[in-house]
């Protein structure tokens, strides 16, 4: 007998209803979206950004005696571009502020504020929190905002991540920060999170180059930071400064064959005193090299009995050569060559 049909609400609709209700329940009363007069907005001195220019410079002009005058001029030029789009289309995302008495302090969106004032606007779309977001949430909002920007240096990005991790530990306890955890809290991709962690743990020479702006790309910095041998790292750094592409840098590393795997993000220093427990036999792209080695060994009297073991190996295949080489090592260890 056929079952009676059950009716229901489609899965997509159920999900939509659920999500909408959750958004309201989790957020209503915590912040509100509104329009604020720019005159009531102040910048947050603790924001991880490093803009020299402030609201006063925009309103009254940059003073010639200002020690930062040239940097501020440069920043002003860049803000003018943003101001032009704001003048024609307004700000696309609301800025994020929290209430401090009569004033609203910017959590995220200083450039949009500065550019809006520059564009002659009186008001700005804002998301208003009733109180200052807690340490980690604040850094997270700033992080999310900052990821959308392309004018942050790698150094600034790293500062943000470092702050974020610090606040995370303050709020949630001193847990070890893995790439997966970083990925979860920032919604970075796993490779990106891994890169950031690698670079945060970079050797000092790499850190210096990031600080002074020589190293500006995350993936290159991560690649270089993961090279443990100082000499090779130096070679890669020099190449990077000369403008090598990521691919070219990778080939330097492959050439030197000392690229450590992902899980060896342990800083250099810690490895220094450790005693090695085995010998790395190296790598080769040419299986014939293995054949030559094995042939040489099999020529010796005591290894003749193993010749048959290697009869069926096809030396055109890397995996067969690898297997054969491992067998050779086993044999050599077994026979206790000294």
């Amino acid at each position: 007998m056929a079952k009676k049909k059950r009716f229901g609400v489609s899965q997509a609709l159920t999900r939509g209803l659920t999500e909408t209700i959750n958004v309201v329940e989790n957020n209503a009363g915590i912040f509100r979206n509104t329009v604020l007069p720019l005159s009531r907005i102040e910048l947050d001195p603790e924001n991880p950004r490093k803009l020299a220019i402030d609201l006063l410079d925009i309103r009254q002009g940059i003073q010639a005696t200002d020690p930062w005058v040239s940097q501020k001029q440069e920043e002003l030029e860049r803000l003018k571009e943003l101001a032009a789009t704001i003048a024609s289309t307004g700000v696309i995302n609301p800025i994020v502020v929290y209430k401090r008495g009569d004033i609203y302090r910017v959590v995220a969106g200083e450039r949009r504020c500065l550019a809006s004032v520059l564009a002659g606007k009186q008001e700005i779309d804002a998301r208003v929190f009733n109180e200052k977001p807690k340490g980690f949430d604040l850094k997270l909002v700033q992080w999310v905002e900052n990821t959308a920007r392309d004018d942050l240096s790698l150094d600034e990005r790293l500062d943000n991540i470092r702050d974020l991790i610090k606040e995370y530990c303050v709020q949630y306890g001193d847990v070890p920060i893995t790439a997966t955890l970083l990925k979860d809290i920032t919604s970075l991709s796993l490779p990106q999170a891994t890169y950031y962690l690698t670079v945060l743990n970079a050797p000092d020479d790499v850190k210096t180059l990031i600080k002074d702006g020589t190293l500006r790309s995350l993936d290159k910095a991560a690649l270089i930071a993961s090279i443990t041998a100082p000499a090779v790292r130096q070679e890669a750094i020099t190449a990077c400064i000369e403008g090598y592409s990521l691919k070219q840098l990778r080939s330097i590393v492959t050439k030197n064959k000392i690229l450590t795997t992902k899980k060896v993000i342990v800083p250099n220093v810690k490895r220094r005193g450790r005693t090695s427990t085995r010998v790395n036999m190296g790598y080769t792209a040419n299986p014939k090299v293995v054949k030559q080695l094995i042939d040489a060994v099999l020529l010796q009297e005591r290894y003749k009995k193993y010749v048959a073991t290697f009869n069926s190996v096809n030396w055109d295949y890397l995996d067969q050569a690898t297997k054969a080489f491992r067998q050779l090592i086993d044999i050599l260890e077994l026979e206790q060559v000294g």
């Binding site: 609709l13 209803l17 909408t20 979206n33």
Partner: protein, 291 residues
């Protein structure tokens, strides 16, 4: 002053029927000075209380009748055409509510053409203005002094008119038939509720009283859909514990010649009256006693 609105962007789900029950319950049964507002260009709610007239400017549309206080010979009324709809708020004019045959109930009727004009607005600055007008009107001292409750019927839309109601309301109810299409309308309204909720101060929330099952029939379709909504962790708590069943009387009292005209004038034990009373009592309890 409590402002309660019935919303669903699907038509024929009972917005007007519920608005009417609630307006009459608050005014007639609870004796609370109440203002009914018709924000639907179709003007069905208005037609329950006033003899709406055909608008010569827009033959398919209705407009309010002459106001009983209008006197063409009075110099004070010289600049007035004698009609007053809620749509005047979009034209910078005062709204003069009409008295109705229901005790304690005044009414600000719709005006098809003018409401449609407001609904059609798309330019962002103008849309913004439309959004704010109803809130402005309802917070004026005259209105606050005269009424303790406002009941608003809305158009089956997600446009500027509906958004203005969301902005002006303190409480909303989403009537729905337990069928796929009207449930989609619930989703549309929840989205507007979300948008509006995220602009409100904590002290002034927009309370979603809940989803009111209407025209309920003991069919598998209705029972299954109701159950699947009730069983959902997030949605379940917004499905009201009361409902209106499909009853011919609810449709019959729409007619102008119906007697009695109000469901609350039916005999005490009448099943439809009892049901309406139970629903309205529940809603009023939520509105009047819980903030």
């Amino acid at each position: 002053m409590k402002v309660i609105a019935f919303l669903n962007n699907k038509g024929g789900v009972g917005k007007t029927t519920c608005s009417r029950l609630m307006a009459e319950y608050l005014s007639k049964v609870k004796r609370i000075p109440t203002l009914g507002i018709d924000f639907d260009p179709q003007c069905n709610f208005s037609h329950q209380y006033l003899s709406m007239e055909i608008d010569p400017a827009a033959p398919e549309g209705l407009m309010p009748p002459l106001h009983p206080d209008y006197n063409p010979h009075d110099p004070d009324d010289a600049d007035w055409d004698g009609r007053s709809s809620i749509a005047e708020i979009f034209y910078g004019q005062g709204v003069i509510p009409y008295p109705t045959y229901v005790e304690n109930l005044d009414f600000a009727p719709g005006h098809a053409e003018r409401l449609l004009a407001a609904e059609a607005v798309r330019k962002s600055e103008v849309v913004d203005k439309v959004h704010r007008q109803l809130t402005g009107f309802l917070s004026s001292p005259d209105v606050c002094e005269a009424y303790q409750a406002v009941v608003i019927d809305t158009a089956p839309s997600k446009g500027p008119l509906t958004v203005s109601v969301m902005k002006a309301a303190t409480h909303i109810v989403i009537p729905s038939v337990m069928e796929e299409q009207p449930v989609q309308g619930i989703y549309g309204m929840l989205q507007l509720w979300m948008q509006e909720s995220l602009t409100r101060e904590k002290s002034n929330p927009l309370t979603l009283i809940g989803i009111l099952p209407n025209m309920f029939k003991q069919t598998r379709l209705h029972k299954d859909i109701l159950k699947s909504l009730q069983d959902n962790a997030a949605i379940g708590k917004y499905i009201l514990p009361i409902k209106l069943c499909q009853r011919i009387v609810f449709a019959e009292i729409d007619a102008e010649e119906a007697t009695p005209r109000s469901i609350f004038d039916f005999p005490d034990h009448h099943v439809a009256r009892c049901e309406a009373l139970e629903v309205c009592e529940h809603l009023a309890e939520r509105i009047l006693n819980h903030g």
